[in-house]
């Protein structure tokens, strides 16, 4: 996953540089992590052969690939709930965080009252929060959605509050000279200024929401990638475990890529520049 996020940033970096040589360099930067990943896979395969490691300790990439194909129906059946939980949790957690940030920006008193509580809840490790939420919301998908939402909530809240308040003071004076209403200042100034901050948070949330859903499924679920990870581990089905992890990461990477794509389409200016 780290390799893909690096690939995304190198695309961003090369996108601004003009000229043909820069664009070929951009392609090379994009292909580089794929090459590195392929080399690692080959090394892994060779080492597993050389030391003839037992399959339940470390399956080879080839074995994992075979399992991925053979167990595809199982994997997909377990993928669906995790995907839904993480996606709905992402929407719910971020929507709630954005709304709360808007409330905080308009009421310093509410911010002073509630922000410390939000910080406190955020300090509870997700592994400790998850069982509590499962007790409250039951063993169904709801509890996983709530856990995924929780994990998205705080980074987005913190970033969004910062984004909405970090408006250039001179822009605010400009709006006053123009006799702009509070709502106009909010929609025309605060919201656009906050978008780069929001997208940093959404990129974090896109991968952590998957994590939240899986952790929730560990506590108790019949179906889902998290449940499959537990089951495969207990039955020493290592290739299936690795294949499940691969699917989970793949989903998180796609999620991240979609959010990054949206960011590049929407945030076309250079953030942080006081033009």
């Amino acid at each position: 996953m780290a390799t893909v996020s690096r690939a995304a940033t190198s695309v961003e970096r090369s996108a601004g540089a003009p000229g043909a040589s820069a664009s070929t360099r951009g392609w090379r930067d994009t292909l580089l992590p794929f090459g590195a990943a392929a080399a690692l896979l080959v090394a892994w395969q060779v080492l597993a052969w050389a030391f003839s490691l037992p399959i339940y300790i470390a399956p080879t990439p080839a074995q994992i690939a075979r399992t991925l194909v053979a167990e595809l129906p199982t994997l997909l059946r377990n993928f669906a709930p995790t995907a839904i939980e993480s996606f709905v949790g992402f929407l719910l957690g971020n929507t709630f965080a954005i709304l709360m940030a808007v409330v905080f920006v308009h009421s310093k008193r509410l911010e002073a009252a509630l922000y410390p509580i939000a910080v406190f809840i955020n300090t509870i490790p997700i592994l400790a929060k998850a069982p509590i939420l499962v007790l409250i919301f039951g063993l169904g998908m709801t509890s996983k959605v709530v856990i995924a939402a929780f994990i998205c909530f705080f980074p987005t809240l913190a970033n969004m509050v910062r984004g909405l308040t970090s408006v250039n003071p001179q822009s605010l004076e400009l709006m006053r000279v123009l006799s702009a209403s509070r709502a106009e200042v909010f929609w025309k100034l605060r919201v656009p200024s906050s978008l780069p901050f929001l997208f940093s948070a959404l990129k974090i949330a896109s991968t952590t929401s998957v994590l939240g859903a899986i952790v929730g499924e560990w506590i108790g679920a019949d179906l889902g990638l998290g449940a499959l990870i537990i089951e495969a581990t207990h039955n020493f089905r290592s290739p299936l475990l690795y294949a499940t992890v691969f699917v989970a990461s793949g989903w998180a990477v796609i999620f991240f890529a979609v959010v990054s794509f949206a960011e590049r389409r929407i945030v076309t200016w250079k953030p942080g520049e006081s033009a």
């Binding site: 001179q170 004076e173 209403s181 106009e184 033009a275």
Partner: protein, 255 residues
Amino acid sequence: MTPAVKLEGASVRFTSERGSVTALEDVGIEIPPGGFWSLLGPSGCGKSTLLRLVADLVAPTQGSVAVLGGPPATARVNRDLGFVFQDPTLLPWRSALENVRLPLEVGPQKRERSAQWTPEGLLRLVGLAGREDALPHELSGGMRQRVAIARALVSEPRILLMDEPFGALDEITRDTLNEELLRIWRQTGTTILFVTHSIPEAVFLSERVLVLATNPGRVREVVDCRLPYPRPLSVRETPEFMRIAAHLRALLQSC
């Protein structure tokens, strides 16, 4: 004729925990409509505060401020005021044209007045035809400031307030924009109040220079610049120009 700006005994005092500072004391001036006045003085003399007083960004603690015969707030709401800051203060997500349009989209007086100046026409006026769709980060510092001037003019203000608008630009760009500003002033007939700490800039542009002294900020002298318009850049080499500039320099040194 109602003066564009009239201050009577206007004082501004800023109070904080560490005591109070008198930014302006007992300022009385009367600027006729269509005039081009500069405010010149050392830093901390309250020239920006004076501009903010007129723009209704600061209220006087004593005395009165009248803009076009009424309170500054009325002039602000009626869109009689245009303000150009030292930084262009463009919204980075809006194109040049969209930035110029901003004043038409906000506030109680949204609609264009007589459409004498369209946003497109203003961008042409400031020499940015063809760059309508450029984002601020794609423009140079001088171009951004031109966009800011076009934006200040779009609501056809009767008074244009400029707070060291060219202070951050290089000298060549500054000269060009000074000439353009005079051309725009003569075309629009707007009253201009221009803050600067450059003596040549003040003499080149204005009909009158208001010299402010510091501690507390107060009017030192009002100096006439009797140089005929249109003024080419070469006016700066004439003896009269140099005489006025020398007089201003002497005044500033004694402030």
